[in-house]
């Protein structure tokens, strides 16, 4: 018997929470108190649950983008730069458009602009990788560094709203932002994000394009041998990945913040990487992990204030989870091998 489906995730989650709890004990905190506070705050209270769901939107869009890339064997780690530049672009565009064109058109145009900016920011690593085989891990990280700095420069020098004291872009009025869902505080970006994740999953598993990307990711030499246009596929996967991450930036601005402040960088691009690995690049599974992580973040933030456990403890839990998932996987494989199946 090998560990199947839900158990495979459930066991590591329990182990991670247990070890996390032990760490809290050692630090002199009450683990039960912490966990129940986090859960209550982020899932059981209506306000907290709404916040948790709202947080999921950018995470899911980034996850969709990373799944496309990772499944194609492309390590796009430049998410932060792509995200932030797209956020700034849509934040700059929205207030400028809103007077002239209807709200819906403004929002759609801004999201397209965000995607496009993300895409453009991935082109250089994409071309370097596909043409010259230059490692994209390094180039995307560099471009990300450049992108976040450039976004700040834009805000401080070009897009700065003269009416505010802190450097930030002009704000999009709350009523002009992405429509809320059914009278909640959750914006419609969440729906879009869900559609994107499911769409990407279907694309990867049910289309010729997705299969070619999978082959490229699993065995590049086989893709060449089978006659796929490997250069084009590489660039396409990169572009799609970055456009989705750019869309995440636009959605976060248009749905939540309405503007971008200088030095704002939520650094979600790298935070989502472990989640995508936990989900083994599966679009449906990543929804569950994103919910889990989002709840931990929301609960963890107020727990930091109330229980005195730093917010970064959430990352410790994610790291533990990753570790135990890997470990369970490894042990399970070893056992299956020993059983000769």
């Amino acid at each position: 018997m090998s560990l199947r489906g839900p158990l495979r995730v459930f066991v590591p989650v329990v182990l991670a929470l247990t070890v996390g709890g032990l760490i809290l004990l050692v630090l002199g905190k009450d683990p039960i108190g912490y966990y129940s506070y986090v859960m209550e705050r982020s899932l059981l209270r209506w306000g907290g649950a709404q916040e948790t769901l709202t947080r999921m939107a950018p995470l899911l869009l980034i996850a969709a983008g990373l799944i496309v890339a990772f499944r194609s064997g492309i390590w796009n780690l430049g998410g932060d730069g792509q995200f932030l530049l797209a956020a700034v672009a849509s934040a700059a565009l929205a207030p400028a458009l809103i007077g002239g064109v209807p709200r819906g058109v403004t929002l759609v145009l801004c999201m397209l602009a965000g995607s496009l900016v993300g895409l453009v920011w991935s082109l250089l690593p994409a071309v370097l990788k596909s043409r010259y085989g230059i490692n994209e891990i390094i180039t995307t990280l560099m471009m990300s560094f450049l992108g976040t700095s450039f976004a700040n420069v834009l805000i401080k020098l070009v897009l700065r709203d003269p009416g505010t004291t802190v450097p930030q872009t002009r704000s999009l009025a709350v009523d002009d932002r992405l429509p809320r869902l059914f009278g909640t505080t959750i914006h419609s970006g969440l729906l879009l994000a869900m559609l994107a994740v499911v769409g990407v999953h279907l694309m990867m598993t049910r289309t010729a394009f997705g299969l070619r990307l999978q082959v490229l990711g699993a065995n590049r030499a086989a893709a060449v041998h089978a006659g796929y246009r490997v250069e084009r596929l590489t660039i396409a996967a990169f572009a799609l990945s970055a456009a989705l991450i750019g869309l995440a930036g636009a959605v976060e601005v248009l749905g939540v913040w309405g503007s971008v402040r200088a030095d704002w960088n939520p650094a979600l691009g790298l935070l989502v990487v472990p989640l995508v690995f936990l989900a083994r690049f599966n679009g449906y599974a990543v929804i569950g992990f994103t919910l889990f992580f989002s709840a931990l973040m929301v609960g963890g933030e107020s727990a930091a204030r109330r229980v005195g456990v730093p917010q970064h403890f959430v990352l410790v839990l994610v790291a533990l989870l990753l570790l135990f998932l890997g470990l369970v996987e490894y042990l399970d494989q070893g056992r299956r091998k020993a059983a000769g199946t």
């Binding site: 598993t205 049910r206 289309t207 010729a208 394009f209 299969l211 070619r212 999978q214 082959v215 699993a218 065995n219 030499a221 086989a222 060449v224 041998h225 089978a226 006659g227 796929y228």
Partner: protein, 528 residues
């Protein structure tokens, strides 16, 4: 002249094979001793025994008159033995001098001035002009080999082992190497040169020994070598290498072809079915490819291939066979020359265009590029059809159709797999090959290239693969079968071409005298 090193009754066994069988040889100072033998004859094993990489099961090594055991590579170096292995072992990201300094203890590694002094000494001795600070990756293969030789000589070697050093070199590189070997020989160093090319053996060698199935089959000593004509040397060597009289159509490798023929009791493919009054299906005209790292490119290869014909391609590995296969398949650009399929020029197309016209390629790199191990057998069976009907409509996958198709092929080709959804990487080698054969030798195939179709398979699967080739030919497919197994080619081919140094050295009809002519061509000795 004095004996620097000798082997006495050395036996080395690997599971299921006796790589060296009571081998006794002597290596003299100031002499280039050439070792010849087919792939698998035991030449590299002999080298690794002297280099301290392998311990013999029986027998002794005698160095400077003392019988001893070479316990480790370090010990071998201390004994004055320098080795240039068949596979390059340099660090490409380091410079020439850094690579040379890697050998010593870490203290000596830091003594750059001393290292540079030694480097200049050796450079003068060998007559090379390398820049000690050049990164290795920027050097030609010939120059990298010079560094290998310098490293082997770094600690004053009295015996230098060179395992197939010329196989990757350009003619210029070979000439340079020859000059170096002569310099060393004149300094009293004993050299062991392993090569597949008779021309090199005659040009550089003072003494020749032939290994066959782990035994010393015989040799030619210096006096005889000088006295003999080239044709006489070649006849002697071919007789020793293959264990038969020249021209005699018998079998090698313990008669396994004969055993196989008995196993199935029939001939795979008769030569009579090819109709050469029709125009050929494939015409290759003076086709060349571009050189790449460690690969021999094609140089103006021309041939024609008819429907139902099996054209065998023989030759020692690495003489351009891979480029030939990839060029016809569309995986590698044609660089000068032309390809014609059924009268239509296909020089420009890539894999999809060629495949669309019926060109098929069964690669020898079955796991590396032929299949995607992580994906199911079913997916691998349509890997080259992705996006095409009937399995895809407007880009949407019809998995049910793909799985049904896979079940049919699995059944028909006797592919042993738990299911169509099993990852291809879990299949045994023979079954992976069945997947590839099923994918490539389909109903629309017109020209199929098979690169080493039986390599690494067990007897039964070898048989099945050859059988599939025969059936495809009977269906009218034109086949190009690349193999290093001559018996196999003799058995299935109508004609046999030989690749040598990127050229098609010749094509011979598969008749009674074929085996002898092919062997001559294989050693670069010329057809007639």
């Amino acid at each position: 002249m004095s004996i620097v090193a000798a082997l006495s009754g050395i036996t080395k066994r690997y599971p299921g094979v006796v790589a060296l069988d009571a081998v006794s040889l002597e290596f003299h100072a100031g002499e280039v001793h050439v070792l010849l033998g087919e792939n698998g004859a035991g030449k590299s094993t002999l080298v690794s025994v002297l280099a301290g990489m392998q311990q013999p099961d029986e027998g002794t090594v005698i160095i400077g008159g003392n019988p001893l055991r070479i316990a480790s590579p370090r010990h071998s170096i201390q004994l004055g033995i320098g080795t240039v292995f068949q596979r390059p072992s340099l660090v490409l990201s380091l410079t020439v001098i850094e690579n040379l300094m890697l050998g010593g203890s870490w203290l000596r590694r830091l003594a750059r001035a001393a290292a540079l002094r030694r480097f200049r000494e050796l450079a003068t001795l060998l007559g090379t002009h390398l820049d000690p600070d050049a990164p290795l990756a920027g050097l030609s293969l010939g120059e990298q080999q010079q560094v290998e030789i310098m490293r082997a000589l770094w600690r004053d070697a009295k015996l230098l082992l060179l395992d197939e050093p010329t196989s990757m070199l350009t003619p210029q590189g070979v000439a340079d190497l020859g000059r170096m070997m002569r310099n060393l020989r004149d300094r009293g160093v004993a050299l062991i040169l392993i090569t597949h090319k008779l021309g090199e053996a005659y040009e550089f060698g003072d003494r020749i020994s032939v290994l066959r199935l782990g035994k010393v089959a015989g040799g030619i000593d210096p006096e005889a070598l000088v006295a003999m004509e080239e044709s006489g040397r070649t006849a002697t060597i071919i007789r020793l290498m293959f264990g038969l009289e020249a021209g005699e159509a018998a079998t090698t490798a313990g008669g396994h072809a004969a055993e196989l023929a008995i196993l199935l009791g029939r001939k795979i493919h008769g030569p009579a079915v090819v109709d050469r009054s029709q125009p050929p299906v494939l015409r290759v005209r003076e086709a060349s490819t571009r050189a790449e790292f460690a690969e021999t490119p094609l140089r103006k290869v021309s041939f024609e291939l008819w429907s139902s014909e099996v054209l065998g391609i023989a030759g020692v590995d690495g003489n351009g066979q891979k480029h030939l296969a990839e060029m016809i398949a569309g995986q590698r650009a044609v660089h000068g020359g032309a390809l014609e399929l059924g009268g239509i020029d296909i020089t420009q197309g890539g894999v999809p265009e060629r495949r669309g016209r019926g060109v098929r390629y069964v690669t020898d790199d079955r796991l590396g590029e032929g299949t995607v191990g992580a994906l199911p057998v079913a997916t691998n069976l349509v890997l080259k059809e992705v996006g095409a009907p009937p399995w895809w409509h407007h880009g949407i996958t019809d998995w049910a159709a793909i799985h049904a198709h896979a079940r049919v092929l699995i059944e028909r080709n006797d592919i042993r797999t738990p299911s169509a959804l099993t990852p291809a990487g879990k299949l045994s080698g023979g079954n992976v090959q069945k997947v590839l054969l099923a994918r490539e030798l389909d109903a629309e195939a017109r020209v199929a290239i098979l690169n080493k179709p039986t390599h690494g398979l067990d007897l039964h699967n070898q048989r099945l693969a050859l059988d599939r080739i025969g059936t495809a030919a009977a269906r009218g497919v034109a086949l190009l079968v690349i193999s290093t197994d001559l018996d196999e080619l003799i058995e299935i081919s109508d004609r046999i071409g030989v690749m040598f140094g990127g050229r098609l050295a010749g094509i011979v009809d598969n008749d009674a005298g074929a085996i002898d002519r092919v062997r001559r061509l294989m050693t670069g000795a010329g057809a007639t």
